[in-house]
Subunit: 402 residues, 4 copies
Amino acid sequence: MDFTPDPKTEHLREQLLEFMDSHVYPAEPVFHEQAAAAENRWDRPPIMAELTREARRRGLWNLFLPDPRYGPGLSHAQYAPLAEITGRSPLIAPEALNCAAPDTGNMELLAIAATEQQRQDWLQPLLDGRIRSAFCMTEPEVASSDATNISTRIVPDGDGFTITGRKWWSTGALAPQCELLIVMGVTDPDAPAHRRQSIVLVPRDTPGVEVLRGLDVFGFDDGAHGGHAEIVFDGARIPAENLLGERGGGFALAQARLGPGRIHHCMRLIGMAERALELMCDRANRRVAFGKPLADQGVVRHWIAESRVRIEQLRLLTLKAAWMMDTVGAKAARTEISAIKIAAPGTAEWIIDKAVQVHGGAGVSQDLPLAMLWAQARYLRLADGPDEVHRDAVARRELAAR
Amino acid sequence: MDFTPDPKTEHLREQLLEFMDSHVYPAEPVFHEQAAAAENRWDRPPIMAELTREARRRGLWNLFLPDPRYGPGLSHAQYAPLAEITGRSPLIAPEALNCAAPDTGNMELLAIAATEQQRQDWLQPLLDGRIRSAFCMTEPEVASSDATNISTRIVPDGDGFTITGRKWWSTGALAPQCELLIVMGVTDPDAPAHRRQSIVLVPRDTPGVEVLRGLDVFGFDDGAHGGHAEIVFDGARIPAENLLGERGGGFALAQARLGPGRIHHCMRLIGMAERALELMCDRANRRVAFGKPLADQGVVRHWIAESRVRIEQLRLLTLKAAWMMDTVGAKAARTEISAIKIAAPGTAEWIIDKAVQVHGGAGVSQDLPLAMLWAQARYLRLADGPDEVHRDAVARRELAAR
Amino acid sequence: MDFTPDPKTEHLREQLLEFMDSHVYPAEPVFHEQAAAAENRWDRPPIMAELTREARRRGLWNLFLPDPRYGPGLSHAQYAPLAEITGRSPLIAPEALNCAAPDTGNMELLAIAATEQQRQDWLQPLLDGRIRSAFCMTEPEVASSDATNISTRIVPDGDGFTITGRKWWSTGALAPQCELLIVMGVTDPDAPAHRRQSIVLVPRDTPGVEVLRGLDVFGFDDGAHGGHAEIVFDGARIPAENLLGERGGGFALAQARLGPGRIHHCMRLIGMAERALELMCDRANRRVAFGKPLADQGVVRHWIAESRVRIEQLRLLTLKAAWMMDTVGAKAARTEISAIKIAAPGTAEWIIDKAVQVHGGAGVSQDLPLAMLWAQARYLRLADGPDEVHRDAVARRELAAR
Amino acid sequence: MDFTPDPKTEHLREQLLEFMDSHVYPAEPVFHEQAAAAENRWDRPPIMAELTREARRRGLWNLFLPDPRYGPGLSHAQYAPLAEITGRSPLIAPEALNCAAPDTGNMELLAIAATEQQRQDWLQPLLDGRIRSAFCMTEPEVASSDATNISTRIVPDGDGFTITGRKWWSTGALAPQCELLIVMGVTDPDAPAHRRQSIVLVPRDTPGVEVLRGLDVFGFDDGAHGGHAEIVFDGARIPAENLLGERGGGFALAQARLGPGRIHHCMRLIGMAERALELMCDRANRRVAFGKPLADQGVVRHWIAESRVRIEQLRLLTLKAAWMMDTVGAKAARTEISAIKIAAPGTAEWIIDKAVQVHGGAGVSQDLPLAMLWAQARYLRLADGPDEVHRDAVARRELAAR
C-alpha cells in the first residue's frame, strides 16, 4: 500500500493547475456572458474554441482515454486526479480538454467496438473535438435504470435498420456541433433478456430523427453544453454498417461504457466539492455577521471540517476503484464502482449545500457557481442509475458473500 | 386542547379546494406555456387575470389579512389551513387569491402603519390586486439577517428624503405591475442600533431608482412573479409624507412584518410538501422497475411514511404558532415562530427531494412542479433569516430559561 | 382548534410537579444506592414503598385508566401531559404513581376483558399496587412484530389449558412482587390467522413456569423494575376460568392493549427528552472549555435549538393522537399512533445523545441519568413493533389513499 | 499510488485470521461466562491467560510497537489491517496479542521516553504481559479535552514529588494486574501553558493513591478489562527517578502518545463495524418476517449497502493516516488523524445501530456482542478528545489554508 502520487500524473497535474489558473477560471465570467447573450441557447460560447486550442497545444487533450493510440494513454488511476481538477469548473474545463461527458464515454465505446470505417467517420472527428455526440439510452416511458426495459425498436429492414422510439436525457444532442447519436434499442425481442439490445450510430440529420426539446435540471437548461434532449425516432433509417459491435451485444457494450463514465463523474464531483469548500472557507473568512466572521461560528466550522473529512474518504475510494479498474477490471471492481457512485453525488451535494448556506442569497444565484454545481451533483444521484439501484446491487453481493 | 377544525375555516377550505380543482390545477400547464412564450420574462401570464377575477367573485380574496376592514378577518389560525392549500400550487394559487408574498406582508405593514393618504394611494390598489409591490431590505454587501447592518441611507433633505444604496432579493420588483417599493434604510445613524432605521414608500418610477437585473434561484428566475431584483438607489428623492410610520421605527416595523410572513411561508411549505408526497405516492403506485411497482420497494415506503410523520408534526406546530400569534401575540410566540421557520423549509425540502428521486429524470425537469418546489423550499432556508440565525435565537432563550 | 390546556389536567400537573420536586428527584440517588446494595438484583428499592404511599395519599394514583371505576377517569389527552412529567424520572415516577408499564397495559386489558372473579383476583391487587404483572408475548424464535408468528401453544386440556413455549422480553417478570403472567399463545391453530390466539392469566408460581434469566438492554438489567425475563412454559397447566376474554380473541385483545401503551411510552419519551435537554442546558451554561462556556459554542446551541424544535412538534402530535383515541378511537387514530411510535423514540434518542456528548465522560456513566435514558429510548425503537413495521403500515395506508 | 497489500502484513493477517477462528471466537462465550461468574468483577477471565500464551507462541505479540527492539517492528500501515481484525472481538483479541489500550499507548510512551531503569522496571513487564497499566489524564472537574486545564498538582518535594488531585476514566486501573499508573499533572504552574505539565510513574500501591470506583459506559462496567477508574491522589509520594522524560515535557509526551493511540482505535473500530455488518447480513439472510427474509426488505438492504460504502471509505483514510504517520510523521498527518478520529466512531456507531435493529430484542441484549460494540463506539466519540474538538481543529487548519 503506497499513497505516493504517480510522477506522470504529478507532472500533468501541475500543467493542468497552471492552465486552470491562467485560462479556465478567467474564462468563467466570459463563458456565462456569452451563453446569456447567445441567440441560440444551445450554442457553445465562442471562448470554448480558444480554450480547446490552447489545451490541445499544451498536450492537455484526450487525457481520459487509456488507449495509447488516441491520447497520452493514462490509466484510470492516473487520470483520476486530473479529472478531479477539471471538476472544479465543470462547465468549461472538461470540454476544454476534450474530456467531457458524454463524448468521453462515446469515444471509449468507439475505441473498443468501432470498425475502421466507423473510427474514421466518427471517432477521429470526436478525438479532434470537431464534432460532438450524444448517447440515447434513457426513455421516458420505462424505468431505464433496468436496461432490459428499453423499448425503442431497431428493426432490421433490408440492408439496414429502422428505428422507432422515444429517448430523453440525451445530453448534448441540442448542440449545433452534435452530429452523432449513439442509440440503444431492441433488435431481437425474442432473445434472452440481455441479448435483445443493439447499439447503432445515427447521424443526427437522419430523416425521422426529431430533437424535440431540452429538459431542465432544477431550472438549468445546460444550454451551453447542448442541453438534455428529448428525441423522437419515427422510422429513422440507417445502413447496416452503422451497427456498433455485434447484434445483440448492446447491453454488454452499454455496461462497458458505464464503468469508466461513472468513475469520471465521481472524480469530477470531488473537484466540485473542493471548489465549494474553497468558496465556503473564503466566504467564512471574509463575511462578518453579528459581530464576528462566519469563520468563528461553530456550525460553519463543523461544516468545513465535515466537508474535509468526507472529501478525503471519498477521494481515496475513487482512486481505489480506478486502480481496480486498471488492475483487475471493471467486473471485479463493481462493488467499488457502485460504492463511489452512491457516495460521490451525495457527498458533493451535502458540501455544496453548506457552501450555499454560508453565502446566503448569493449562494443560490447566478453570481456564484454553487447553485449550478448543486444541480449537477443532485442530477448525478439519478443519472447512470439512481442511488437506490446501486445500493441494491452492493447489498445483494454483500448478502451473497455470507 | 381541542383539535377540531374551526367551522368558518372548514367552509372556506371546501370552497378553496373546489377552486383548486376547477381552476388552479387546470391552469398550471397554461401558466407555464404563457410564461415560456412571454416576450418580457417578467410579465404575468394572462391566465392570472382570469383566476384573480374568479377567486374574488367567490370571496376567496385577501384571506390573509386579520383586519376585518380589508378582508374576511380571519385569525392566523383560521387562515393557516387555507394558506397550506394555496402552497400546493405556489406559483398560482396564492397570487390568484391576492395572498402572495411579498404583497401580503406589504399590505399588513400598510394596514398597521399607513396614513389615510398612504392607504388610499397604495393599500387600496394592492387590496384590489391592481398593482403589486416589493420590499427592499436585504443588501448584497452586508449580512442582512442582522438588520442593524443595513447600510442604505435615507437622508432627510428639505421636506423629503434622498435614498442612496443597493438592495437585492427584492422579490417581485421586476414585474410591470410593481409600482411600489417599500424601502428600509438608515435615517438616524447616531441613534441606538434599533432606532436608526426608517421605512419609506418609493414609487418604482422615481428618478434615481434603477432596477438592475433579476437574480436566479437555482436556475429559476421566478419571472412570472416579477423575479428577485437587484436595485440601485442613487439619490432617489421622495417627499416627507412617504415615510411609513415614525422615523426611527423601521426596525420595529420590519420585525412586525416578518412574524405573519414567516407563518404564511411555513403554511404554504406544508402544502408544497403534501403536493410532493401526493406525486410521490402516485408515481410509486404506477411505476414498475425490476419487476415490481416502486410502491413495493422498502426504501420508497420508508420515505413515504417519514414524509407523513414529519408533515403531521410540522402542521401542528405551525397551527400552534398561528394560534399563539392570535392569542398571546408575536413576541410571546417567537420561539414557536422561529421553530417552524427552522423546521418547515427543511422538512419540505427533504420530502420534495425524495419525490424527485422517485420520479427519476422527470423529477428534476420542467415536466413536474417538483424541481421548482424544491428550489422554493431551499430558498426559504435562507430567506427571512437563515436557519442558523433562528436556531441561535431559540437556543439563547432556552439557555436563558435555565 | 384550541391549544389551551384542560383545567383538570392543569390542576393535576401542578400537583404532580410539586411531587416530583419534593419527592421524586430527591429519591433518585437513594433509589440507585438501594438498587446497587440490594442482595437480590430484581428487588424493588425500599424507597418505592414510601413514594407509592405518598402518591396515593395525594390522589396521584392510577391516572392512566380512563375507566372512572378505577381511577380519576382521565381521557388520554388529559393523561398525556402527566405521563410526560413522569417520563422525566422514568425509573421512579411512573411506578410511584402506579402508572408504569407493563402493569398499566395489563390493568387496561383486565379492565376491558376480565370476568368479575378475574377483576377481584388480579385487577384489584394491581390497582392497589399490591402485586405486579408481566405480559408474555414476544418469543425468541420468531419475528414477534408479526403477532401471527407467535408459536407458544395453549392447548385445551380437560377443563383447563396446558401451555408450552418460550417467551422473552417479559418485562418485570423477575420482580418478587410479580405474581401474574398474562400470556398470549395459539389455542386454535386451524382458525384464520387472526383468530388463532388466546390470552390466559398464569400465576407465576404455576408448576411448569420457569423464569430463566434477565435480558440486558445495552448493559442495563433494569433490575429494580423486575428486569426483562426469558421464561419457559413447559406444560404449565391453568384452569379454564383463566382464559381472558373469548377464545380466539387474543390477537384483537393484544392490539387493543398496544394502542394506549404506545401513547404512554411516547408521552414519557417526551419527558425523557425534556430532562435531557434541561441537563444539556445546565451543563452548557456551567462548563468552560477552550476559554468559553459550552453554551457559547455554535454546535451546542444548534443542538439545543434543534432539540426544542423537535420536542415541540412531537408533543403536539402525541397530544393529537391521544385526542383522537378519545374522540374517534384507536382504529381511526392508527396512523397518528404509528407516527408517534416512529417519531418519539428516535427524537428522544437524538436529544439524549447530544446531552451525553455535552457532558463528556460523565454523560455515559452512572453519575447522570442520561445513559439509562438513552438505553430506554433506543429500546423503544424496537419494543411494541420496530420502527420499520410502523413505517410500513403508515406507507401502506398512504399509498392506498391515492 | 498502489493499493496492493504489503506481503509481510498479508502473512501476519493470515496467521491472525486463523488464530481468530481457532481461538478467539470460540473463547467469546467462555470469556463472558467466566466474567459473569467472577467473584471480583475487575478480574481478568482465566481464559485470557491461555490465549496470551498461545498468541505469543505464534508470534502474534506486541505487533503494535514500531520499535524493532520490542516486537516485529511493523510500521503503522503494516499494523493497521491487523489491528482491524482484532477489533472484531475487541474484548479479547487485542489483549490476547498484548495490543490492548491503554497498555499499548503506555508502552509506546515508555519506549520513547523511559530511562533504562524505567524500561527494566515497567516496560519489560508490560511487554511480557506480566503487568498492566493505566493512564491518568482526564479529570472530572475540568474539560480535559484541553489538556492545559489539567489541575492535578505534582509538587516537587525533597528528592521526589507529591501528587494531589482527582482523575477519572483511568481505564484498566481496577484490574488486579494493574501495577502502574502513568499520571499527568502540573509541576510548573508558572511556566508557559504547554510547559507546565509533567508525567510521572506511580506504582498503584503507593500510599495516598485511592482507586475509588469504576465508571460505567452505558451500563457496561468493562470489568474484565479493569474498568474505568476514578482515582484520588491525596499526597501520594514518588521518588524523583519516577519522572518520565523531562520536567515540563508532559504535554508534548501526551500528544505523542495520542497519535498512534487514535489510529489504533480507528483500526479496531473498522473491525467492529465489519463484525456488525457480518452479523447483520447473517441475520437478514436467516430471519423471516411478514413472509420474506429480512434480506429482501429494501430498508435492510439499504443499510447493508451504506455500511459497505462507509467502511470502504473509512478504511482507506485510516490506512492513509497510518502511512502518513510512517512517512511524514504525526504532525504532518494531524488532519488525517483528526479526520479518522471524527469519522470512525460515528461510522461504526451507525452500522452497529443498524445491526442491532435487524436483530430486534436480541440485538440490545447480552446474547450478541452488538450492544457492547455500540457502547464502545459511542464512548470513542468522546474519548481521546470529543468529535467537536477534532472538527474544530480540522476547520481551523482548513480556514487558515485559504
